[in-house]
């Protein structure tokens, strides 16, 4: 299990979304440079200093940012119809675009336009000679939806210019009306007004906070709640001014949350929070390799089902159980098909294609005792207490791990013939003092889930062979946990889940995770007040829907600060 320590090292090195645990302003990745590392340990008190106390409104800045690849895909699909060919756009949306990405963007819109879905927005015969007026009509219609607001005069003139100059190209045969429309459609679909999000507010030149415009609010709402571009109704609401008030915003939030798109967004949030999606350092849940000898029942379909089950649990808590975060952590309800029911050892649907809500046995409660998380944080044959503990520490508690110490000997001690259990092996490996700073915190969290094997089945013993000799040793899932505000002896996953449900730290971590999702960037000092309000909302209501309303309708959320120099 040597790999675990190194994976831990790796995980700390590629952190993306950790929000630290400090009262007040928090900057992602802002950790002390470490000589003798210790995880952040600060007592959580209910009397967190209130960063919203200042006389002036403390509001987030709003740097230009690119849509995420998923948002761009959804946007094109919502503009032009389903199943747009968008595989060429990839998931590495760094702040700065690269040449290859610019080229892929151009290629993707060329492919989309070839399909011709945009032609339904042309008000005349596209196969005919067309007219400038007809082209202008097309530009105005597609432009408004794509740019998320009516075109400015300059934009209309730029795009009609593209149309006329294309028609005037000196080529043989001459450029057709359809070709000129296709050209301008490509320009619109890859325009910065589509691919970037730029918020200027109603008074861009004023130095202080400025309210977001109605159209900017519409984009906020839809990219957060639908992960896509606003629909016509939302743009109309912006146009009529109904988004200018908090009440109007709340009504819009309710409407958007009632859409199936919001359910998709919540399910994707759950998968993201559990880190089930692939990154260059971690394969997707569906592609993790498991030992066929130990887990002969494993199939690609089972992995897909695992993800669906965890997403359904989160979705149910969000939409049908009052947005309860505690329900996410403690619910024994599970949406299962036949193979999943077998894995959990419960009576359930007979086949892989029938699904039903089932009560799980008392060994399980909440998302961290479900197959998706447990499989994702385990090796090919054995569970990984380190990986599980690290995930709990980072994701569930929202705490950051420091770098390993400079002097660390990454050739840890080897387990001997008598250290057989997963727990013992990990403890031997992480015994050196230089490891304890982190592992004394991580390992116990992971050990509480020791009864769940590498695919999430419940087991009483660790069973295997070592150098040809079979062994079976009882699992000890009792651990002295001391991480964040969890300071207690916990036995098994149910107690762990209950402890997390009662943890102020965990509640704050969930609020922060939604805040990061809303911002699509790390939380900075400018967001301190908004962060505080978000944390307070969830702490007081346990309602993630209320949290989203706060993130979208509080005074801090509806304004932005002027450009920083």
């Amino acid at each position: 299990m040597r790999r675990s320590i190194l994976l831990l090292v790796v995980l700390t090195g590629c952190e993306g979304l950790i929000v630290g645990d400090r009262p007040g302003p928090v900057v992602v990745g802002d950790r002390p440079s470490v000589v003798s590392p210790r995880p952040e340990e600060r007592p959580v008190t209910s009397s967190e200093p209130n960063p919203c106390d200042g006389a002036t409104l403390s509001v987030p800045s709003s740097p230009l940012r690119r849509l995420t690849p998923e948002q761009l895909r959804n946007t094109w699909t919502d503009l032009l119809g389903p199943a747009q060919p968008i595989a060429a756009i990839d998931a590495f949306a760094a702040p700065r675009i690269t040449e290859l990405e610019v080229e892929r963007l151009a290629d993707a819109v060329a492919t989309i336009v070839q399909r011709g879905d945009h032609l339904s927005l042309v008000g005349c015969d596209v196969a005919g000679a067309g007219s400038d007026a007809c082209a202008r009509g097309f530009i105005t219609t597609l432009g408004r939806r794509a740019f998320r607001r009516p075109l400015t005069t300059e934009e209309l003139s730029w795009l009609t210019g593209v149309y006329t100059s294309t028609r005037a190209l000196q080529v043989t045969p001459a450029v057709t009306f359809r070709e000129a429309i296709d050209t301008v459609a490509q320009v619109i679909l890859q325009a910065p007004q589509v691919t970037y999000l730029n918020e200027r507010g109603t008074q861009p030149s004023s130095p202080g906070p400025t309210p977001l415009t109605g159209f900017e609010r519409a984009a906020r709402l839809s990219f957060f709640l639908w992960n896509s571009t606003p629909d016509d109704a939302l743009l109309s609401a912006a146009e009529t001014g109904s988004l200018d008030t908090a009440d109007g915003m709340r009504a819009a939030v309710e409407r958007l949350l009632a859409s199936p798109r919001a359910r998709t967004m919540v399910r994707r949030f759950a998968s993201g929070w559990l880190e089930l999606d692939p990154t260059p350092t971690h394969v997707a849940l569906e592609k993790l390799v498991k030992s066929a000898a130990r887990y002969p029942f494993d199939t690609p379909e089972l992995r897909v089902a695992m993800r669906a089950e965890s997403e359904a649990l989160f979705e149910r808590a969000f939409f049908d159980e009052g947005g309860s975060f505690k329900a996410v952590l403690t619910s024994r309800k599970a949406y299962l098909n036949g193979p999943l029911a077998q894995l959990y050892g419960v009576a359930g649907p007979a086949s892989a294609t029938t699904w039903a809500w089932v009560d799980l046995p008392e060994q399980r409660a909440g998302l961290f005792t479900r197959a998706a998380f447990l499989t994702n944080t385990a090796g090919e044959e054995w569970p990984s207490p380190t990986r599980r503990g690290t995930a709990l520490y980072r994701r569930a508690l929202g705490l950051a791990l420091p770098d390993p110490p400079a002097s660390v000997d990454n050739t840890p001690p080897k387990p001997t013939a008598t250290t057989l259990s997963v727990r013992d092996r990990i403890e031997v490996r992480t015994q050196p003092a230089s490891c304890r700073g982190c592992h004394a915190v991580i390992n116990p969290l992971g050990h509480t889930l020791g009864h769940f094997d590498a695919m999430g089945q419940y087991q009483a013993n660790d069973v295997g062979t070592q150098n040809g000799t079979p062994f079976s040793v009882a699992i000890d899932a009792t651990a002295e946990v001391a991480a964040g505000d969890l300071e207690q002896t916990l036995t098994g996953g149910v107690e762990l889940s209950a402890a997390l449900a009662g943890s102020a730290q965990a509640s704050r971590a969930m609020a922060d995770a939604w805040l990061v999702r809303a911002l699509q960037r790390p939380v900075g000092t400018a967001e301190a007040c908004l962060q505080y309000r978000a944390r307070q909302t969830l702490a007081q209501t346990d309602d993630m829907r209320a949290l989203l309303v706060t993130l979208l309708t509080s005074d801090e959320a509806l304004s932005i600060s002027g450009d920083s120099p």
């Binding site: 790999r3 994976l7 090292v9 090195g13 590629c14 952190e15 993306g16 990745g29 740097p63 230009l64 595989a87 060429a88 990839d90 760094a94 702040p95 700065r96 040449e99 290859l100 990405e101 610019v102 080229e103 151009a106 290629d107 060329a110 730029w158 795009l159 210019g161 593209v162 100059s165 294309t166 190209l169 080529v171 043989t172 070709e179 050209t183 490509q186 890859q190 910065p192 970037y196 730029n198 260059p280 350092t281 394969v283 592609k287 993790l288 390799v289 090796g379 090919e380 990984s384 770098d403 660390v408 990454n410 050739t411 840890p412 080897k414 387990p415 092996r425 150098n467 790390p522 450009d563």
Partner: protein
Amino acid sequence: MTSKKLSRRLILRGLGGAAIGLPILESITTSKAYAQLTAPAAKRFLCFFEHGGTISATTRTGAKEDGSGEYQGTDGWAPASPAEALQLGPIHAPLAPHLGSLLVLRGIDNKAGWDQSPYNGDHGWANASALTSAVMTKVGTDVFAEGPSIDHVIATRLATRQPVRFASINLEVPAHNYGTPFYTAARQHASRDYNPTTAFNRIFAGVTGGASMPDPAVLRARALKKSVLDGTSAGLSGYKRQLSARDQQVIDEHLTHLRSIETRLDAASVPSVPGCTRPTVPTITGDWYGMNIQVTGPLMADLIVAAFRCGLTNVATLEIGDFYARFLNPTYPAAFDIGHSLHHSANETGRGGTMAARWQDWFDTMLANRRWRIGLLKRVLDGLAATPEGNGTMLDNSLMLWTSEFSMGAIHSVNDMPVLLAGKAGGRLRTGRHLNYNLRAATNPTTLQYQTRSSMHNLFVSILNAFDFPDTQFGSNHVWAHGPLTGLT
């Protein structure tokens, strides 16, 4: 040196160029002038980068494992003999047909990585320094090089000397990794294409493979495409005006990339080059995670060869992720299907480890993995060696560098890095050799002890010199001494 005949051409070049103001004979007899004038410079550069290190017996200090622990002291990278005459080790064995074009260098450290990494071998720091030897900065949780990698420096300069459609083409065999080593500038990663189909469409657009007259239909399509790019550029320029200075930089970069694509489109007619044929590339779809590298890896190698044959670029890079390939029928499991966790299993399979009984399984799996990677190089070398150029082959006029971010991946060692050169670099490299810069090996070639004063910085200077770029230093000051390596020419 003096035993070589001075050709008439050499004398004339000495008279006309390199050393005006110096006595003729002095300029010709200094070693630098000799090297420059006896052989033309390398024409093209290839850089293969494999993630995760190699099968090496190197410890964190550079000293070798004695066999009692990890790897049981086995080294798959080192040549079979410590002698200068190269005898290929296990990983390099598939390259036997090109033995005379290879140069295995040992005893070279990534000193920029060692000196700057907070724990002397962190993935992020090792990757960012591997090809840049640069000063590095940690931004948030990511480590960035503060300068370009060697391939980009060469590409930029060669593009001036030998104009081509692409200053370089950068391809990828996508798999697990901790960050690319390829940089175009401070904190700016290079773009890599991981899909051979899109790479082909991009690189070979408009290449007809011998036809001299451009197809009117192609010209028409190009004009329409240019309209899209022009229109997009105009839009970006207008958009930029309403942004803050900070945000304008983002759009400026976008604009720069767009103009570079437009420039390529303008120069899309490729003159007929003998031997230029468009490679056959099937339609492959999927995202970064969806590539079947068993198929895409060899296609990438073919694209590189074809691009060189068609004169489309001077520089090619191939970044190979740390995969754990099922198609190689591995007999040893890796956690999470990640090549790097296979590497870390070296601890279990070493003597005294819990999996010691499966050491051979582990080694076989690792060797097959590393040989598959080397197989991609062989494919490229085969292609270049089969392409006549001047009095020799394309390989003779090329310089290939193969390296990784680690020597022994299991312990993240950045000492005694794996360095393989191939191609005679136009005659600038004496190949078919093995050079060990481990000072302790001078008296005892099989020693386990290690001491060096050579770092990747020095290697990169040597490579620049082989292209006739007179640099005396590259990268940061984390060196024992600046300057080139000795003994390569």
